[in-house]
Symmetry: C2
Subunit: 187 residues, 2 copies
């Protein structure tokens, strides 16, 4: 099943594809076909700077959509390159644009987008905290430590070593508990 709000679209709007490492889904400047939902695998969005610098715009992960803005644009403005094999669903630009005439879809889309924006803002605030210990604490308070510590560290833009050390310091300070290997909770 597709994640919200794309589950509300007719099945005719979607096309499943398997992807292999190195595949190029689209190139900067190509006509837009639509957005993508990554089921499994990894995809990088990259932009090439005026002087040839490669700049990673986004790393798409399982269960998330990417290139949403392409629905509102004539041309892709970055490259999409498959890093790890997997599968994805392409969702037609025209189907999405048409679906905005359906208030249920429109509201679901709006809700989803608003929540995403909020989550991004919060992570950006947290990432702005300089001290690793404070940053990790804020990340825990924000509920970002749900999966592995390695994933958590990546979301905080810290190395996992720094994150483990901060977690230990927080445990020693009594602010966090470590009920079992790899699990941490607010004290």
């Amino acid at each position: 099943m597709l994640p919200e709000p794309y589950d509300l679209l007719p099945t005719t709007a979607r096309q499943s594809h398997t992807i292999a490492a190195g595949d190029v889904l689209f190139r900067q400047g190509a006509r837009t076909l639509g957005l993508y939902v990554l089921i499994t695998g990894r995809v990088h969005l990259e932009r090439v700077g005026p002087n040839g610098e490669r700049l990673i715009i986004h790393r798409a992960t399982s269960g998330t959509s990417f290139a949403e803005a392409s629905v509102f644009s004539e041309r892709y403005h970055c490259d999409a390159i498959v890093m790890d094999a997997g599968e994805l669903v392409r969702i037609d630009k025209s189907a999405v644009l048409a679906a905005f005439a359906n208030p249920d879809f429109a509201r679901a889309y709006g809700r989803h987008a608003a929540q995403q924006v909020q989550a991004h803002r919060q992570i950006m605030e947290i990432v702005g905290i300089r001290r690793a210990e404070d940053r990790v604490m804020a990340g825990i308070v924000a509920g970002l430590l749900d999966g592995t510590v390695v994933d958590f560290a990546a979301r905080l833009q810290l190395t996992h070593e720094a994150t483990y050390r901060a977690l230990r310091a927080l445990v020693e300070a009594g602010r966090v508990t470590n009920p079992s290997r790899g699990t941490y909770r607010l004290a």
Copy 2:
């Protein structure tokens, strides 16, 4: 004039307010009235953690909206506190929800939100670059250096000192030009 897409809403949906430092616009748990567009001034959104930690969720700046997700929620889930006096416009939750029945508004909202998400993802990628010089270069390539260097540094989550030093190093490396005091461009 309000920023997109709220300019499409009927004027009856908006209420202008002047705000003073220290004012509380809403509290965590209060019934949601709607979202806000900050015209001038500064507003912080803060959440209080389970153990009383204050965590800044977002710093709203002039010309931007905040609490968009409240439109889809019964209760505010953070506090909104005015840091610097100014003025803002409150936009009724019910008016926004109703406006999603208008495909033009829905699409404008979708486009705006998708672009914001994209911009956030890009900034997060850039902020994840460790070396100050690489980060600053990426920021320039991404077109983030439009205002002052101080603002640019804040967006990159770097101190302005580190940013100035990186800019100088980039100029010395011939990757960036410094046509006049305070202005930098790609070489």
